[in-house]
């Protein structure tokens, strides 16, 4: 039977592998992997992957649906949102404007974000080029104070 230290190290290694597997899957396929795909991709049983996913939620970057599948792997959203991000021929969704900007920041690529005004839905296209935000007209509003962000991450 492995010692507690060995088990913690093994879990930490799995968590790191899973985190990167999820991101690479998002980048390649433009969508979140299912839990079954994570298990297959990592050659690990689902009964090990599910607790690892729950541990990743402790970082607040990962949020699960009620059925245990991914809802968010920040900055990527697993569900369509009002913040589509296009890089080359590929596209993803951010959960909010911060996350939408986070996708080109994470991938270090030029991007087009087809955002719109949260009030009137007026189209506000944002372009990232050569590591800079080209158009800067507009204002970002966050309704929830920072210390309460993770109490209701969906609303935040």
């Amino acid at each position: 039977m492995p010692s507690k230290l060995t088990r913690v190290r093994e879990e930490s290694s799995l968590d790191s592998d899973l985190r990167l597997y999820i991101y690479r899957f998002f980048i390649r396929h433009g969508r979140a992997p299912w839990v079954a795909e994570m298990a297959k991709g990592l050659s690990r049983p689902t009964k090990e992957v599910k607790p690892a996913l729950v541990r990743l939620t402790g970082t607040h970057a990962f949020v699960l649906e009620g059925n245990g599948e991914l809802w968010r792997a920040a900055p990527f959203s697993a569900v369509p949102t009002a913040f589509p991000v296009k890089i080359g021929r590929r596209s993803w969704y951010g959960n909010c404007v911060w996350d939408a900007l986070g996708i080109p920041a994470m991938l270090h690529r030029d991007a087009r974000i087809d955002a719109s005004c949260g009030c009137c839905n007026y189209q506000m296209v944002l372009n990232v080029k050569d590591g800079h935000l080209v158009k800067r007209e507009g204002i970002v509003h966050i309704a929830v104070p920072a210390r309460h962000w993770y109490q209701d991450i969906v609303f935040t």
């Binding site: 009030c119 507009g138 204002i139």
Partner: protein, 72 residues
């Protein structure tokens, strides 16, 4: 965290949804925050920012005051 055309549209949204006005950022600050938060996310060494590191990151782009405090 939503994007708006102007301060007036932020205020209108707050009235429509009966929300108190929160914090605002310029788009430039939003981009800098995104870079600060996500540019190292694909590193195998990545770990979440501590509360102090996050508050320091906010302060570094001018996001200061009680609204941006994570502790307390």
């Amino acid at each position: 965290m939503l994007l708006f055309r102007s301060e007036q549209h932020v205020n209108r949204w707050c009235r429509q949804w009966n929300r108190r006005r929160g914090g605002t950022l310029t788009l430039h600050q939003g981009w800098r925050l995104a870079v600060e938060w996500y540019s190292d996310r694909l590193s195998s060494q990545w770990r979440p920012k501590t509360t102090a590191e996050a508050e320091q990151a906010f302060a570094g782009i001018g996001l200061v005051g009680d609204f941006w405090k994570l502790a307390g």
